[in-house]
């Protein structure tokens, strides 16, 4: 069987889509959480700065037309209450600098209120500046007292780092969770497919009944095509079997009739030359019949090895049965078939094919054995293999040394025009190989052929 050409995998595609989806959502989550948290952190920092600035502003009063400011201790100390921060401030009356850090950047326009915030670089560090102002009546008339308070971003950055890692964790966590769920989803989506595959591959070779288990609606067309295909296959298989059977009838029945008639004729013919002719005829008919039978046998073997059934076959029982079945024939030929050893030995395979192989071998052995000789059959099992050995006391295999015999049946029956045993051994070889075993032919030193079928265990 050849593996189907695959392109992609539904499960993988589903998984990739879901993972991409999870990654995108995870990334979005990360960005959103981070930006929201940043905003909140920024706001809380701004609130502290504003509180500081306002507390300074609140400490200002006009005495005798002059502004005096009693800078509250907490105005600056609150700025590094959690983390150590550098703090700066500037107090200005209109554009006149009063106290603090003169170069502290001034705010732009006051938009929508009297408190504005800005980010700037100051004295080599990034700072956040809150500015607030209030109008006072002084000697010079109405004037805006403006307080700017600035703070470095150590704590802010630390918070941002934490926020970043938390939102990263949230994003990654979401992604991991989604990935796990994606795997589950992908698996559960493809599970019906796997179930269908399992239910189809669990079937025996001859089970071509339609798949009856319920499947998701998306798979219904596939399953109905499959069922359709299987029913056509079933039909075609039974047609092949019928054809083989029909062919056997068509070819062999006339041969049987002719042979019987020839035999009857032989009884009535007296002249030796006529008798010889009829004998020749019968022998030729037998040869044809045997050849036809073996060709059909071969067809049957090929057919069955393509659809090898997988049942437990007890080779010892099979060998015993085969020998018993051949008992009438062996008696007829006065050849004794001896079972010398029978170890219990079971393999998985097709009993019909295996019996066909044994019958062919024993048939050969009987055919080549001389009268009053014997054929020995043994089934042996050891740790590594099962060996079925059939040996006779006949003439043995010709040309065994050159390996031609093996070669001949390995590449096809009638390469050299010898039909009979060649095809028989071809059948045996095909059956044995279909069961993962090997066929070994040898000649015994004392004369006679020895055929060994060995099936490795495990």
């Amino acid at each position: 069987m050849t593996a189907p050409t695959t392109k992609g995998s539904i499960r993988q595609r589903l998984l990739i889509l879901l993972l991409v989806n999870a990654a995108v959502v995870g990334l979005l989550l990360y960005l959103v959480v981070q930006s929201v948290a940043r905003q909140i952190a920024q706001e809380s920092q701004d609130n502290i700065l504003a509180a500081s600035a306002i507390s300074i502003l609140d400490s200002a009063r006009v005495t005798g037309g002059e502004i005096s400011i009693d800078l509250p201790y907490s105005a600056l100390s609150m700025l590094d209450s959690v983390t150590d921060e550098r703090a700066f401030y500037a107090i200005r009356l209109n554009d006149e600098f009063l106290s603090g850090y003169e170069n502290l950047p001034r705010p732009g326009d006051y938009v929508g209120g009297n408190t504005v915030f800005q980010s700037a670089a100051y004295l080599g560090e990034d700072v956040r500046i809150a500015s607030t102002r209030r109008s006072f009546a002084t000697d010079q008339g109405q004037a805006f007292l403006e307080i700017s308070v600035a703070q470095t971003l150590t704590g802010m950055n630390r918070t941002l780092t934490r926020i970043s890692s938390i939102s990263f964790g949230v994003g990654i966590g979401f992604f991991v969770l989604s990935a796990l769920m994606a795997m589950l989803i992908a698996r559960s989506t493809t599970r019906p497919l796997h179930r269908l595959t399992a239910s189809v591959s669990r079937r025996g070779p001859s089970d071509l009944s339609p798949v009856a288990a319920p499947v998701p609606s998306e798979m219904a067309p596939l399953v109905s095509s499959l069922n359709n295909f299987m029913s056509r296959l079933q039909l075609s298989l039974s047609r092949s079997e019928d054809f083989i059977a029909e062919a056997a009838h068509r070819v062999r029945t006339p041969l049987a009739i002719v042979r019987t008639q020839a035999e009857i004729t032989l009884r009535r013919v007296e002249k030796p030359e006529n008798r010889q002719a009829v004998r020749e005829m019968i022998r030729a008919i037998d040869e044809s019949s045997r050849t036809a039978g073996q060709l059909l046998d071969h067809a049957m073997v090929s057919f069955r090895t393509d659809h090898l059934s997988n049942e437990t076959v007890n080779l010892d029982v099979l060998a015993q049965e085969t020998v018993e079945r051949l008992q009438p024939l062996s008696e007829l030929r006065e050849v004794e078939v001896k079972v010398v050893r029978l170890d219990p030995a079971a393999i998985r395979g097709d009993s019909i094919l295996l019996q066909s192989a044994l019958l062919n071998l024993l048939d050969n052995a009987l055919k080549y054995s001389s009268r009053d000789s014997s054929v020995e059959v043994s089934v042996e099992k050891d740790d590594t293999e099962i060996r079925i050995e059939i040996s006779d006391t006949g003439p043995g295999f010709p040309d065994l040394d050159s390996g031609q015999l093996l070669e001949r049946f390995a590449r096809g029956a009638n390469a050299e025009g010898v039909v009979g045993s060649g095809l028989g051994l071809t059948i045996v070889d095909e059956v044995v190989r279909a069961h993962g075993g090997t066929l070994t032919l040898s000649n015994k030193t004392g004369g006679g052929a020895c055929v060994v079928l060995s099936f490795p265990l495990g």
């Binding site: 005096s68 400011i69 009693d70 600056l76 100390s77 590094d80 550098r86 107090i91 170069n103 004295l123």
Partner: protein, 338 residues
């Protein structure tokens, strides 16, 4: 940086000359040593000598150039004249904080600094290595027959009840001259109203005003002063004539000043400076074997009454010209009742 003009009203009073003035100078170790560590400090040479010598015994290839200056001169050297020093050691926490806040200190982080308690480090720039409480120093002779004051209220009572003993014999910092004095006063005032009442009482007794702790102790020893208020207890403890006086940590609250060190940005050998800094800190924390200024009184004192001055931008508040001006004005009106 130099263009930054920060209004240091207090400082301007005492330092009118242009160039920074060193009070003392010494070099420790081999003059020809490969590396010279330049330290500017408000602490006397004698005060810091043991630490330096201990350091040099481990680092023979280093020489230490030690310059003593007042805290305002130190500020001027670094802030205005941009002179190069590798370490600045000062008891003026507010000025040290300002140096750091205004970007004139380098950050430093090491395993040693990681172990410091939070109060002892600010922004990885300013590191505290001593704790020095402000105390009453009382002349034993003058107080014969009188109860010893344990807190400010008791001190007020004793001063009020015995003006004949104390007139002209009470000493305290002139906060217009002394950075430490200003720091103690502002922190005192922040902590309790008692400070102003005490200052007023002292003001009625024609007090003597000092620039330095050492002078006050000397005058107590000589009997010229009956009591000195807000004296660095660590100095007093080290005094040779310590049996002439009694040191009292006020039980209501005792301001604890931290002597701090920082590495100025002008340092030419920041690594060497960092090494020395770590050495100093290792002598001090967690339970230092520092040869200097371990006030034994601190260990015995009620920890809850110790008022450690917190490093941080809060200290900048009293450096603000408005704040400074109004505080000095208030102080003057209380202490100078002529």
């Amino acid at each position: 940086m130099r263009s930054l003009i920060f209004s240091l009203g207090l400082m301007c009073l005492s330092t009118l000359s242009n160039a920074f003035e060193a009070e003392d100078h010494a070099v420790f170790g081999d003059e020809d040593a490969g590396q010279v560590l330049r330290i500017i400090s408000t602490a006397d040479i004698a005060f810091f000598k043991p630490m330096i010598q201990s350091y040099l015994s481990d680092h023979p290839d280093v020489a230490v150039d030690y310059t003593v200056a007042s805290s305002s001169e130190l500020m001027r050297a670094l802030y205005e004249e941009d002179l190069s020093f590798d370490l600045a050691i000062s008891s003026a926490m507010d000025l040290q904080t300002k140096l750091a806040n205004d970007g004139l200190a380098q950050r430093h982080s090491s395993s040693q600094t990681q172990n410091l308690p939070d109060w002892a480090v600010w922004n990885e720039m300013v590191f505290a290595f001593t704790q020095e409480p402000a105390a009453f120093v009382i002349s034993n002779k003058a107080f014969e027959g009188l109860p010893l004051p344990e807190n400010r209220q008791q001190l007020i009572n004793i001063l009020r009840q015995n003006p004949e003993i104390f007139r002209g014999r009470v000493g305290t910092y002139d906060i217009r001259q002394s950075g430490s004095g200003y720091l103690f006063a502002t922190q005192d005032a922040r902590a309790s109203d008692t400070y102003w009442r005490l200052t007023e009482v002292i003001g009625t007794l024609d007090p003597k005003l000092y620039c330095c702790t050492a002078d006050m102790i000397d005058d107590v020893v000589s009997g010229e002063l009956a009591i000195a208020y807000n004296v660095l207890a660590s100095y007093a403890e080290q005094s040779a004539q310590s049996d002439a006086f009694t040191i009292i940590l006020p039980s209501d609250f005792a301001i604890v000043m931290l002597r701090t060190v920082l590495i100025p940005t002008s340092s030419e050998k920041p690594e060497l400076a960092a090494g020395f800094l770590d050495f100093v800190l290792s002598q001090t924390f967690p339970r230092g074997t520092s040869p200097l200024l371990q006030s034994t009184m601190l260990d015995d004192a009620n920890q809850n009454a110790l008022h450690r001055i917190r490093l941080g931008p809060g200290l900048l508040v009293y450096l603000d010209q408005f704040k400074n001006r109004s505080f000095i004005a208030e102080w003057e009106s209380a202490i100078l009742q002529d």
